[in-house]
Symmetry: C2
DNA sequence: TGTGACATATAAGTCTGACTTTTTGTCCCC
DNA sequence: GGGGACAAAAAGTCAGACTTATATGTCACA
C-alpha cells in the first residue's frame, strides 16, 4: 500500500492498530505504556510514538495516572486511510465495506457531475482508456485485469471532479472495489450492464453532460448497493 | 473544540500544523528534528512524537539522512479533523470551505434519505426540536441561537442516517455552518425559505418519506453552494 | 570521460535511566 | 459521614550515548 511498518513504531502500530479496531480491546480498556513496551519488546520512546499516533487517530486517549484508554468506536477517525485498512483487514470488514459503499453512493455521482464540467482533455482520454480496458476484460474470467481498469476509472472521476476531498477517496474506493473482487462473491464476469454504464459515463464526461454523468454514475452505485443487499424502498 | 494543546507535543503541533497546512513550508521543504526541537525549546523525544503525528496525517515524511520533508498537498489526510481545523484557521480557509460545502452537497441529501428510514423516535423528536429552535430564532438578529440549532439539526440528520462515515462528518458540517455565520457575509436574518426547508425535512424524516427528505435536503445544500457562488449549469 | 566501488558524513532511529508532574484513591481526623 | 492531607501510580519530560541507514562525494579503473 503506502509505506507500512516503517521503523519500529510502525511495526507496533501494525499489531496494535488492527487489534484495537477489531474490538479486541473494548472501549474503556486501559493499556499501560510500559507494559506495552515490554510486550512488543521496544523501548518506551518507541512505544510512546506509537501511542501518539493512535491518539491522533482518536483510537485511544492517554491520561496521566490512568493510562492509555481505548475510545468508543463513535469517536474514531474513521476516514483515516490507515484505520480503514485495519478495519477492512479484520472482523469488521463486512460492516466497513457497507459503510464505504454507502459513502460511495453519495459521493461518486456528484463527483462525476463535477468531472463532466472540469475534466481536462487528458483526463477524458484516460477515462476513455479505462472504459475500453474494462470492456476488453469484461469476458473470459479476466477479473484481475478488469479490476485494475475499474479502480483507475473511478479514481480518475474522483480526481477530475476538481474537489480535493473527493480526490482523496480514490484509495478508499479502490479498496472497496478490490475487496469485492477478492473477498466477496464475484466468480463470474462482471455485469455487462455495469460495463456499459461505465462506457456511457466516460462519454457523458467527455461531452460535458454533467446531469447525465451524475445520473449514470448513480445507477452504477445503486448496483453496488444492491450487491451488498443495501436496498432502498 | 476537542482537546487541544495536551502536553508539550500538542503545543508544538499547534504551531507546526497550521504553518504546514498554510503552505508556509512548500512541498519538498526539509526540516530537521534537532533544529525544530531547539526552535520550540523541547526535547528531541517530544519533537519526535510531534513529527510522528504529522507523519500519520501524511503532512510530512521522515527519512533517514534526509530529514522531515513536507509532502505535497495532494497527499495530505484532508479528512483529519485536526487538519481541517488548521486549514480553516489559516489562509486556506475560503478554499477549504468550498471543498467542504461541495462534500456536504453530496453527503447530506443521501444521509437525510437514510435518516428517514432509520431515525428513532427520539431522533425524530430531537430533529423537530431543532427545527422549532431555528424558526424561533430566524428573525430579530438572533444569529448565534439560530446557528446552534442549525448545527444540531444537521448533526442529528447525519447521525440518524445510521452510517458511521456520515455521522463523523457532523463536526465538519458544524464547522462550515459556524464559519458561514462568523466569518462570511451573513449579517441579516437567515433566508426564510431555507428555514422552511429545514422544517419540511424534519417532517419528511418523521413520516419516513426518504425520497422527499433527500430532495428537500438537496435544495438546502444547493442554497449553500449558491451562497459561495459554486454554481452549476 | 564515464562508471563503478568504496568511504564518509549526516540525520533519523533507538535505548536507557533519572527525574517531574498530574491525578486519583485512600486514610485519617474533625 | 465529609473534607483535606498524603502517598502511589502512571504518563510526561529530558539528556546523552549509541546505532543504522543512506545520500553524496571521492577515487581508481576501464
Amino acid at each position: 500500500m503506502t509505506t507500512p511498518g516503517r521503523g519500529l513504531h510502525g511495526h507496533v502500530l501494525d499489531s496494535l492498530g488492527p487489534a484495537i479496531t477489531a474490538g479486541e480491546y473494548p472501549p474503556g480498556s486501559v493499556l499501560r505504556t510500559d507494559e506495552l513496551a515490554q510486550r512488543f519488546d521496544v523501548s518506551r520512546s518507541v512505544m510512546r510514538e506509537a501511542v501518539r499516533v493512535l491518539e491522533s487517530m482518536r483510537l485511544v486517549e492517554s491520561r496521566r495516572r490512568v493510562g492509555v484508554t481505548v475510545r468508543p468506536k463513535a469517536e474514531w477517525n474513521v476516514y483515516d486511510p490507515q484505520v480503514i485498512r485495519w478495519r477492512l483487514a479484520g472482523a469488521d470488514r463486512p460492516h466497513q465495506l457497507r459503510s464505504l459503499t454507502v459513502l460511495r453512493s453519495a459521493v461518486e455521482p456528484v463527483a462525476a457531475g463535477l468531472a463532466a464540467r472540469h475534466a481536462s482533455a487528458a483526463q477524458c482520454a484516460e477515462l476513455t482508456e479505462c472504459a475500453i480496458g474494462m470492456v476488453a476484460n469484461s469476458r473470459g474470467h479476466k477479473l484481475e485485469e478488469y479490476l485494475v481498469h475499474d479502480m483507475a476509472f473511478h479514481r480518475v472521476i474522483l480526481v477530475a471532479s476538481g474537489n480535493e476531498m473527493f480526490a482523496r477517496l480514490g484509495d478508499v474506493v479502490a479498496e472497496v472495489l478490490a475487496g469485492r473482487t477478492h473477498h466477496e462473491v464475484m466468480f463470474e464476469d462482471p455485469d455487462p450492464a455495469a460495463v456499459t454504464l461505465h462506457v456511457q459515463v466516460a462519454e457523458a464526461v467527455r461531452e460535458g453532460d454533467a446531469a447525465r454523468a451524475e445520473k449514470l454514475t448513480r445507477e452504477i452505485t445503486v448496483g453496488a448497493l444492491q450487491e451488498l443487499d443495501i436496498l432502498a424502498s
